[in-house]
Amino acid sequence: MIAIIDYGLGNLRSVKYALDRLGVASELTDQAGPLESADAVILPGVGAFGEAMENLRRLKLVEPIRAVARQKPFLGICLGMQLLFTTSSEHGLHLGLDIVPGEVVRFAEGLTVPHMGWNQVEQAAKSPLFEGVADGAYFYFAHSYFCRPTEPSAAIGVTEYGGKYASTVQSGSVFGTQYHPEKSGPVGLAMLANFCRLGRKT
């Protein structure tokens, strides 16, 4: 069972649809219990960083998330990836979950923002997430802020947009994708399947 954290923002359903397509059992939850019993956890999300953290605090999910991220495969998608970091400067300075050390910052002036559409992910390290995924494969992105991990080796995948930035991170069994694998066609579904398989191994 994969738990998908529902914290009251945006498009969570599409992650569930993708897992349904893969034949992987999943449930949307806003409670700590299912996170603890799940094989793996996905933190999806679109929307604003500050509001997302506020919702997670209100639902008393911050500590449970930090605990399960140490125990089992955990995937943050888009805003869900950004929330893994220490701080974000989206509309003021906000504290994140601080599971992956680093900051979330806005793209430089002069670029078209949001960074929207299909862009390539260059694989900087081997990862179970990339199994069967071609180096340089296209994924769907839609974001205005990006993650800067303190530890450069956390960036296992990078993408070029006004310079290279970390579009895929891994720290132990915690993963983050700035793109939406659930909206990235067959290659995205393959990546989600890779992640779900990790859950079954634990």
Partner: protein
């Protein structure tokens, strides 16, 4: 490298796709889910479903459509048409749509743009602008291109960006349906005036028109309907042409 996007647009009425001769190979040519899947497998980068149902009970049908597409199509899709309030936006995004597109309501209730962007992020809010040439400028029209607003299209594009739009879907009313190319001047002017992505729409007659609007026209994406629906060109043919002309595409 960020690819330029090719976006087929499907008109939907009462939950059914209207027009589409190339769908003859589908069991049910009017099924938006089957049509969406077909385009997704054919290499479309995104889909736009435009609800043109004029009835009041359209709301529920379009929400069901959003969910049905979401269960079957794993590329981003935008739903537009008839969105009036924040609840409409919320329902469509929660059903699985990546973005929603607001047109008339953006003009009559600007605050809807802000509300949508604050609640769901500006990447989820597309503002559709239908523009018609009037002397030396372009005027914004609403209500399916029937009602002039007095707004200047370029100034309006800048304003919606400031309020919270994450993308502009720009249709030239003059070029629409003529298949003789996009309005290059309008598209380039709007793209230069804003810092958010611009989807060009109206006038695609073939791959060369799409190529021009993505280069000279400075658009980030090109929307087309009839050239794909009637099987004149496949998405693969268009992308091959773009690739040959040095335009980055996802293949």
């Amino acid at each position: 490298m960020l690819a330029k996007r090719i976006i087929p647009c499907l008109d939907v009425k009462n939950g059914r796709v209207v027009k589409g001769r190339s769908f003859v190979n589908l069991q049910d040519a009017g099924d938006p889910v089957q049509a969406g899947k077909l385009y997704s497998e054919a290499g479309a980068d995104e889909l736009v479903f435009l609800d043109i149902t004029a009835t009041l009970d359209a709301r529920q049908t379009v929400r069901e459509l959003a969910a049905a597409v979401g269960r079957a199509v794993f590329i981003p899709y935008t739903i537009g048409g008839g969105i009036r309030e924040l609840d409409d936006i919320k329902a469509l995004l929660q059903a699985g749509a990546e973005k929603i597109s607001i047109n008339s309501a953006a003009v009559t209730n600007k605050d809807l743009i802000r509300q949508g962007a604050e609640a769901f992020g500006n990447q989820a809010v597309v503002v559709a602008i239908d523009a018609k040439k009037s002397g030396d400028h372009w005027e914004v029209y609403i209500n399916a291109g029937t009602k002039p607003t007095g707004l200047d299209a370029i100034a309006w594009a800048q304003e919606v960006e400031r309020i919270g739009a994450g993308e502009i879907l720009l249709t030239s009313i003059d070029a629409d349906g003529h298949k003789s190319g996009y309005d290059m001047t309008l598209t380039a002017k709007v793209a230069d005036a804003v810092g958010i992505p611009v989807i060009a729409s109206g006038g695609a007659g073939g791959p060369e028109d799409i190529c021009r609007v993505l280069t000279e026209g400075k658009a980030d994406a090109a929307l087309a309907a009839s050239i794909f629906h009637y099987g004149q060109y496949s998405i693969a043919q268009v992308k091959e042409y773009l690739h040959q002309h040095g335009v980055p595409v996802r293949v």
